[in-house]
């Protein structure tokens, strides 16, 4: 390798080089686009610009998707029975004490000419669920929950694993033994069992709880790899040189070594996101997940198992597809990232 002094003075950093390599990877770039699209949608949903009113019962119960061919009978069945003609009621001169309240309600929820509430739509873009919620907005809102849980929990788990792995690998000896013992305990318990145990102890349904559960159990893989990286790097000459210069332990660990393990951390982070999205789905599917007022892909799949018996497959299809596409794209992106960031593959 020779230096080229004829080039412009500012040289591409390692991140710029990684980006150049990623740009050449078509599959990676496409996956990046898909993941980016999800992030934009989730961002809009969080800002409240789309899918805010997913709780509105806009369609009839089990409204099929728009592309579903409806025949006469089914349309009639979905529309429900004809409303009964209004029967005059003789009040014998008494004044209805609830008339005011009733009028108030009727004013707030105007009914159509037939005396029904605002007419519910017979079909919805991706169909409706048992209560007539729009599945499309549910999927968008569910993406928000799932992606948020996946990202935050992965950040937590990766941060925990990195710090613990760094300390264990760098200091070695009894510190390493202690962390390895903890690692051994966590990995010896079957994963789902561990999650259930912590869920049972926390006794609280909520997004924060899920993030905590996944974050506190998911650090083991990161720990193992980062520890190995630190064991490898701590005897490298550049770290010894930093020590000879008088750099503190903290400085050597997090200023000198950490950037050299960033490719491992980044890849582990994105692997964890994929894993945790799936874990959230499993948790919610089994009923340990999000509370009833929150929708996630897992809770949708949980509802879908009853619907499927009735032949209403669209909620399952929508949630399943949304998850499959994101997880696949994220996995392929991770793969591309690993290739792009691996210093060994430098051209």
């Amino acid at each position: 390798m020779t230096a080229h002094f004829g080039q412009p003075p500012v040289s591409p950093g390692l991140w710029a080089l990684a980006w150049q390599r990623l740009k050449r990877d078509r599959v990676g770039l496409f996956s990046l686009g898909v993941v980016g699209f999800y992030l934009v949608v989730v961002g809009l949903a969080m800002a409240g610009w789309i899918a805010r009113d997913w709780t509105q019962e806009v369609g009839v119960n089990y409204a099929p998707p728009v592309f579903y061919p409806l025949d006469q009978d089914e349309t009639a069945q979905l529309a429900g029975p004809k409303p009964l003609p209004a029967t005059p009621v003789d009040l014998y001169g008494l004044k209805d004490p609830l008339a005011g309240v009733l009028a108030d309600i009727q004013a707030r929820y105007p009914r159509d000419a037939a005396g029904r509430e605002t007419p519910r739509r017979l079909t919805l873009p991706l169909g409706g669920d048992k209560w007539g919620h729009d599945v499309l907005t549910k999927v968008i809102k569910g993406s928000q929950t799932s992606l948020l849980v996946g990202l935050v929990a992965a950040l937590l788990a990766t941060a925990l694993g990195t710090v613990m792995g760094a300390v264990a690998g760098y200091f070695g000896r009894w510190v390493d033994d202690a962390f390895n013992w903890l690692y051994g305990v966590f990995t010896s318990i079957p994963y789902l069992l561990l999650i259930f145990a912590i869920a049972a102890v926390l006794q609280q349904k909520g997004v924060t709880t899920i993030v905590l559960i996944l974050g506190l159990t998911g650090w083991t893989g990161v720990f193992r790899l980062i520890r190995a990286e630190y064991i490898k790097h701590k005897t490298r000459e550049y770290v010894l040189a930093a020590g000879a210069m008088g750099a503190s332990h903290w400085r050597r660990m997090f200023i000198h070594i950490l950037p050299n393990t960033s490719h491992v951390i980044l890849v582990q982070l994105s692997l964890n996101v994929v894993g945790f999205i799936k874990s959230e789905v499993i948790l919610s599917f089994l009923g340990f997940g999000v509370p009833v007022d929150v929708v996630s892909w897992g809770s949708m799949l949980n509802e879908a198992q009853n619907e499927l018996i009735l032949g209403k497959w669209w909620q399952l299809a929508a949630a399943g597809t949304a998850m499959a596409v994101l997880v696949t794209a994220f996995s392929m992106l991770t793969d591309a990232l690993r290739d792009a960031l691996d210093p060994k593959l430098k051209n």
């Binding site: 002094f5 040289s11 390692l14 000459e237 550049y238 930093a242 008088g246 750099a247 950037p259």
Partner: protein
């Protein structure tokens, strides 16, 4: 003629684009029963040439020009099929590599690996192959071959591993042995044994040897024909006598001159640039070294020892003394050289001096300050300012994620030198200039620099804190000889300018002799001999020192 290489031109592919040729128009001939040395520095294309003879270059990554030709006993092999090549490899030509440890498969015994070739190429039965393998091990000088045939590679020493590699190479009685830097990874005394082995085998078996090396001194001991390569081109070729006595190419002349000579000590070493002009370089005044009566001491090392704990079994640990007992005094502006083979404890001693390892015994005393008990007199940080270390591997000693500017300003920041960031940047740019690098290097990353340039950066980083003592731990061993001369000259200049004291650790006796006023010879953790450099090299007292000195390749003498 056994082998005839003509107009060989090889380019590598990177993705879809073709890189500049790694080997350009290389032609040479190798007759029966001769040894030809292919000499060159890294990147000269010598190994690529050897691999192309064996057809071992990955075909999808290489492009060999259509007018190139390699003829083996008159037959073209360059465009031969894989089957004909495979029949040729092992049977007719065999190769040994630089790293014996990674050339042997660690999960098979050396016997299995030897017998594989015998059974495949010669169709021997298991029993025959075993008997032959024992004979071969005996022939290459492995003691107790009947027992060693069942040994795994890691149970053998580096020299023995290389012997096994040689046994494998000669097992099918090839007519040509290609040896690619076979002794570079070995100690100087082992190198001598392996060279003698190859020379003996060549004579006894009437083989030809293609010996690839960067070391001209070795060439003169083993080869009869020499081809000097640089950047893919042949610069000079001819019989040994002619190339060494009357080199025609300036590059060859420079290569011959830039190694430190053992007998004398020129003020500066020759570098390639000296030979590029039309006039021959003027004679160089020499430099005297050695301790003087009015030397002012800066460092006193008394009976320092360092043990390592080696796990033994599940619970027990055994103490292994890496350094048993080392004492010396270092004067201001002088150099103490430490020589020894691998495992002698010289690097451990260096790391202990630099404060990267804690000594178990003894006392390291700066003038007026105890290094072992820094808390008594000044902080550990202040001690680090006085002693700095330059490591062997310039590719590992610079943080790949830092720019050169970041690398150089960090010690300034840690020690509070320079005050603010712009002042530190000014100081760092000054350091770059001092070690002979352009100011544009400041914004660049280490991976953009060559080995010699990186070593300059590492030296600049040490200079940043203006140390009294600089430890050079094999600091020039990984560099090409021409680059080595430049870095040694830089170290000399810096010593003259700043009156720094050096602790110069190396396995390379010629370099240590050139750089040192005093020399310590270490063996198995002990200092076996110490004294003025010239005294030790000219009149060695200890048997080990004599053994070591006799193993140095002496270079060419008419």
């Amino acid at each position: 003629m056994l082998l005839r290489v003509k107009h060989l031109q090889i380019s590598f592919r990177a993705g879809k684009s073709l890189l500049a040729p790694a080997v350009r128009d290389v032609s040479f001939e190798l007759a029966e029963r001769t040894t030809l040395a292919l000499v060159g520095e890294s990147g000269s294309g010598k190994s690529v040439t050897a691999l192309s003879i064996l057809g071992l270059l990955p075909r999808h990554l290489t492009e060999i020009a259509s007018h190139s030709s390699i003829r083996w006993q008159g037959r073209e092999v360059l465009r031969g099929s894989e089957t004909t090549l495979r029949a040729l490899r092992g049977r007719q030509m065999a190769m040994i590599f630089q790293e014996p440890m990674s050339s042997l498969n660690p999960v098979f015994t050396v016997g299995d690996q030897l017998m594989e070739g015998l059974r495949l190429h010669l169709g021997m039965t298991r029993r025959q192959a075993r008997a032959r393998a024992e004979e071969l091990l005996e022939e290459v000088g492995i003691p107790e071959p009947r027992r060693r045939i069942r040994a795994y590679p890691h149970q053998l020493s580096g020299g023995q591993q290389q012997r096994v590699m040689i046994a494998m190479a000669i097992s099918c009685e090839p007519s040509l042995l290609i040896a690619d830097e076979p002794t570079t990874a070995l100690d100087v005394t082992i190198q001598r044994q392996i060279l003698e082995l190859i020379a003996n085998l060549q004579r006894q078996r009437n083989m030809s040897v293609l010996f690839i090396t960067h070391d001209l001194a070795l060439v003169s001991e083993i080869a009869s024909q020499v081809v000097v390569m640089k950047q893919g081109e042949v610069r000079e070729a001819g019989p040994l006598q002619q190339v060494f006595a009357a080199p025609r190419d300036p590059y060859t002349r420079a290569l011959l001159a830039c190694r430190p000579p053992l007998g004398e000590r020129p003020r500066r070493l020759r570098v390639i640039e000296d030979f590029l002009g039309t006039t021959p370089p003027a004679p160089m005044p020499s430099r005297t070294r050695g301790s003087e009566a009015n030397d002012r001491m800066v460092l006193e090392v008394r009976h320092v020892g360092k043990d390592f704990l080696i796990p033994e079994g599940l619970w027990r640990r055994r103490r292994f003394p890496a350094v048993r007992d080392a004492s010396f005094r270092l004067a201001r502006g002088k150099t103490v050289g430490i020589v020894g083979e691998s495992g002698s404890g010289k690097t451990t001693l260096g790391l202990t001096l630099a404060g990267l390892l804690q000594a178990d015994r003894g006392d390291i005393q700066f003038v007026g300050e105890h290094a072992l008990h820094p808390e008594q007199e000044g902080s550990a940080l202040r001690r680090k300012r006085r002693i700095q270390i330059v490591f062997q591997n310039p590719y590992a000693s610079l943080n790949p994620r830092f720019t050169v500017g970041h690398i150089l300003t960090e010690p300034l920041l840690l020690h509070g030198i320079g005050g603010n960031a712009p002042a530190r940047e000014r100081l760092a740019r000054g350091l770059l200039e001092r070690v002979g690098l352009p100011a544009t290097a400041f914004e660049r990353y280490p991976h953009e620099f060559s080995g010699g340039q990186r070593q300059r950066i590492a030296i600049a980083r040490c200079l940043a804190v203006k140390p009294d003592i600089l430890i050079c731990d094999e600091s020039v061993s990984a560099l090409d000889v021409s680059i080595q001369a430049q870095v040694l000259n830089l170290l000399q200049d810096l010593q003259d300018e700043y009156h720094m004291s050096y602790v110069f650790i190396s396995h390379d006796l010629a370099v240590v002799h050139y750089m040192s006023d005093q020399v310590l010879v270490m063996h198995d953790g002990d200092v076996v001999e110490a004294g003025d450099a010239d005294a030790v090299f000219n009149h060695p007292q200890h048997a080990y020192t004599r053994h070591l000195l006799s193993a140095i390749p002496r270079g060419w003498h008419p």
